[in-house]
């Protein structure tokens, strides 16, 4: 647990974790909304990170609404969906094989040829399970306005960030949002930590 400002890698990891938690945990999503809307920051309670696949990890139960805004808490993400998605990308697109392979001995042409397969299959797989949409419909590079009360989770202000909204600026990245996600259902006892089983040819 970090009580100081986290580094980039940690934030990257956290973003991933929060992404899935928000998707699958309505209570957590509600709290995240409150946090984003500017609820007073609360003391961070350390919470134990469960082992992947560990059973009996209980969701924190929703407490009766206090008069004060509920203090924001950090929580551990359920790794199941993340591991399952990784397994899917490996199965269909060999993503983990690709990322884990030492690229140093290969030419750009070799890497490029393999990347084409990985890219093609991983994109198919993602498109089959997630529906992506742009957060801003405008062309990148065009002038856009950011109104008062904009959703700070969806629009990141960069550069000369000063003053009060509404702002006008150049859209450097149109953003991505998942509009829909549907992953395969898992049978009881299925071990999502196995990203790819070992193969033995008889």
């Amino acid at each position: 647990m970090h009580t100081h400002d986290p580094g980039f890698l940690t934030r990257f990891w956290l973003a991933f974790v929060v992404f899935f938690r928000v998707l699958f945990d309505a209570t957590f999503a509600g709290r995240t909304l409150a946090l984003r809307a500017g609820a007073p920051e609360a003391e961070v309670e350390p919470e134990e990170v469960p082992e992947p696949g560990a059973e009996g990890v209980q969701e924190p139960e929703a407490k009766p609404l206090p008069a004060q805004p509920e203090p924001a808490k950090l929580h551990a993400a359920q790794p199941e969906a993340a591991l399952q998605l990784l397994g899917l990308l490996q199965r269909e697109g060999r993503l983990l094989d690709f990322l884990q392979e030492d690229m140093s001995g290969y030419t750009d042409a070799q890497v490029g040829a393999a990347a084409r397969v990985v890219h093609d299959q991983c994109k198919r797989t993602l498109d089959a399970h997630l529906k992506f949409e742009r957060i801003r419909a405008e062309e990148e590079g065009s002038r856009v306005s950011v109104p008062k009360g904009f959703a700070a989770g969806e629009i990141r202000l960069i550069g000369n960030v000063a003053g009060e909204p509404p702002f006008t600026g150049e859209l450097t990245h149109a953003g991505w949002r998942v509009a829909h996600i549907e992953l395969p259902k898992l049978s009881d006892g299925h071990d999502v930590r196995v990203i790819a089983p070992a193969e033995v040819e008889l």
């Binding site: 399952q84 199965r91 060999r94 094989d97 690709f98 884990q100 392979e101 690229m103 001995g105 290969y106 070799q110 890497v111 040829a113 393999a114 084409r116 397969v117 990985v118 093609d120 992953l183 395969p184 259902k185 898992l186 049978s187 009881d188 006892g189 299925h190 071990d191 790819a196 193969e199």
Partner: protein
């Protein structure tokens, strides 16, 4: 149906050689040209332990080794207990790596009279411990899976109570149709009716084009349906007529069974690329060949969809976890694609071209009789040539379509559609006839399931119905009583027992010819079908015919059970044909003396088989 409530849905099942699909129409929400049609997501195991709903269910069944997969990893939403086989995507992908346990193309086996379709013979080259299944049993399991998927999604409207139609190739013979109907009964779907797939494709087009179809066809049109599925190619001719001021559609001809489809094309490309890699000194094993088939399909689609690209990269990833290091790389040149695909499967040929002859019935080895000539355009030329008199104009050398409807995933490619149209147009031009129009707006995905659902809706009295009846006239062979000529088989004449176009729910007249059959002994008849003799009535006797007119079908068999008669007695019977509401041909032997009936079996096989 005697249910208190009528069906809530018209449901169509496409039981394809390589994929199955289910579509439905909510009857209460449909009327006029507004049809509430949707495809049913089909839950299936996509990998051990993972279940996902997809529009298509790959028609594959895998029989794992008892210890091969983790316990419970084949659980489906509706199955509480572990299953000893898996159907769908996981079956397909597991089978790629261990083919001895995979059943594929069960549908092609179901219409293969050379084998006993009730005998457990699949997978053909099974591992010793595999409990083999019959083609019929596999079909039953596919239907059960689809029924379970439906019932799971519609607990208040079980599939057994809906208006259900199942697609079969137009070229399925009576025995294969009967087996399909039997499979439906065994899967608990007694009330299912059969619909020819090219007709279903046309129904799908009628349903999706709503009102505009009336503007796209006109009286006198002859619509050619070219249906190239994953494993079979099927042609039909449908005539547009006017009756009492309304347009009427009549299916007037169907082609013969051609075991040749889109999968053969991808495989041909894969073998071509394999040869190319091997010429460069690389080796491609069987497991990689199936990956290569997928990669080849991707490269094919890329070239077909981008006419400007001269070649597409082909990368076969390494088998182990070394993806880049083990990768084999080559490319698919456009010229090669055109040679393998266009010239191999859709060559430019004359209207007089005919497929390379295939050996008649002499199956020396057990296997599927894949079409010996891969050229679909030559099969098409033969079909149109055979049907020259289909519209009554005997002067023409081939039947002249005025419009074309494409069906099947391969026709997503504009290049292939244009090639087929170009070939037909050249034939028509030479005959001085105008070029064909392509019927626009056809859905190529799940069209058979959609069209089958639409057919169910039409059967409840909506929309336009395609008339047709049987696509063949049927005959039994009678050995002449003439003195035998040494060295020659006794001359055979053919007695027509069912005319062309016998409609569902009707019986043919009974021919006068009677046979004296011995009670208690099975009696066989040679059985023939003709897709071209439209004038013969039940009772017509042919003394001679040309080879192309009559096709020998599987023998039929009847045993007069000794109920009123004693074994050994001779009873005079006549043969009568009827087409059931389901759409299957039913033959009975009827006693001349007292009208007693015995069922004539269509699915027989040689004692040696």
């Amino acid at each position: 149906m005697t249910e208190k409530r009528g069906p809530k849905y018209a449901v169509g099942i496409d039981l394809g050689t390589t994929h199955s699909a289910v579509a439905s129409i909510d009857l209460s929400a449909s009327g006029g040209d507004d049809v509430a049609l949707s495809c049913l997501p089909l839950p299936q195991v996509v990998a051990p332990g993972e279940v996902e709903a997809r529009t298509l269910l790959p028609s594959f069944l895998y029989l794992p080794l008892a210890t091969e997969l983790p316990e419970g990893s084949l659980t489906l939403p509706w199955s509480g207990h572990p299953s000893d086989f898996v159907i769908g995507e996981a079956a397909r992908s597991l089978g790629v790596k261990s083919a001895l346990r995979l059943i594929s193309s069960a549908k092609s086996w179901l219409c293969q009279p050379a084998v006993d379709r009730r005998a457990p013979l699949l997978p053909l080259n099974a591992a010793p411990d595999v409990k083999q299944l019959s083609p019929l049993a596999v079909t039953v399991e596919y239907l059960k899976h689809l029924r379970n998927a439906w019932d799971h999604a519609h607990p208040q409207a079980k599939l057994a109570l809906q208006a259900l139609s199942i697609g079969v190739p137009a070229s399925f013979d009576p025995a294969a149709r009967e087996l399909t109907a039997e499979a439906a009964r065994l899967a608990g779907l007694e009330h299912a009716v059969l619909i020819e797939e090219p007709q279903a494709a046309l129904y799908s087009w009628l349903g999706s084009s709503a009102k505009s179809w009336r503007e796209q066809v006109r009286v006198g049109d002859m619509i050619l349906v070219v249906d190239v599925g994953g494993g079979t190619s099927d042609f039909s001719l449908i005539n547009v007529r006017e009756r009492e001021g309304e347009l009427e559609l009549e299916r007037i001809a169907v082609g013969e069974h051609i075991l040749l489809g889109g999968d053969n094309m991808d495989l041909a490309l894969a073998y071509f690329l394999k040869g190319k890699l091997e010429a460069e000194g690389r080796t491609v094993d069987n497991a990689q060949l199936s990956v290569l088939t997928q990669v080849a399909r991707g490269a094919k689609e890329r070239l077909l969809n981008n006419p400007d690209e001269a070649h597409a990269p082909v990368v076969l990833p390494g088998r182990g976890s070394k993806l880049v290091g083990g990768a084999l790389k080559t490319q698919l040149e456009r010229a090669d694609l055109e040679r393998v695909l266009l010239d191999g499967f859709f060559p430019i040929v004359d209207a007089s071209a005919r497929p390379a002859a295939r050996a008649r019935g002499a199956l020396t080895q057990l296997g599927l009789p894949y079409a010996q000539d891969a050229a679909i355009t030559r099969h098409l030329a033969a079909f149109l040539g055979r049907q020259a008199g289909a519209l009554g104009d005997a002067q023409q050398s081939f039947a002249r379509p005025t419009a074309v409807l494409f069906n099947g995933g391969v026709f997503k490619s504009r290049l292939l559609r244009e090639r087929v149209c170009g070939v037909i147009d050249a034939w028509l031009k030479q005959a001085g006839a105008p070029a064909v129009r392509v019927l626009e707006g056809a859905e190529l995905d799940a069209a058979v399931a959609r069209g089958a659902a639409y057919y169910g809706w039409v059967r409840t009295g909506n929309g336009i119905r395609i008339r047709g009846g049987t696509a063949m006239a049927y005959y039994v062979g009678i050995e002449s009583a003439m003195p035998a000529v040494p060295g020659l088989p006794p001359p055979l004449s053919a007695l027509c027992i069912a005319p062309f176009g016998l409609e569902e729910g009707t019986s043919a007249d009974m021919p006068d010819t009677a046979f004296g059959l011995v009670v208690g002994e099975p009696v066989r008849f040679h059985f023939f079908g003709s897709t071209t003799r439209r004038e013969d009535r039940a009772g017509s006797v042919l003394e001679q015919w040309s080879e192309s007119e009559l096709t020998a079908l599987q023998d039929i068999e009847v045993t007069l059970e000794a109920e009123q008669q004693r074994p050994g007695d001779v009873v005079n019977v006549q043969l009568q044909a009827a087409v059931s509401e389901v759409g299957t041909l039913q033959l009975s032997a009827v006693s001349k003396a007292n009208g007693a009936r015995w069922r004539v079996e269509l699915d027989t096989r040689d004692a040696a088989g």
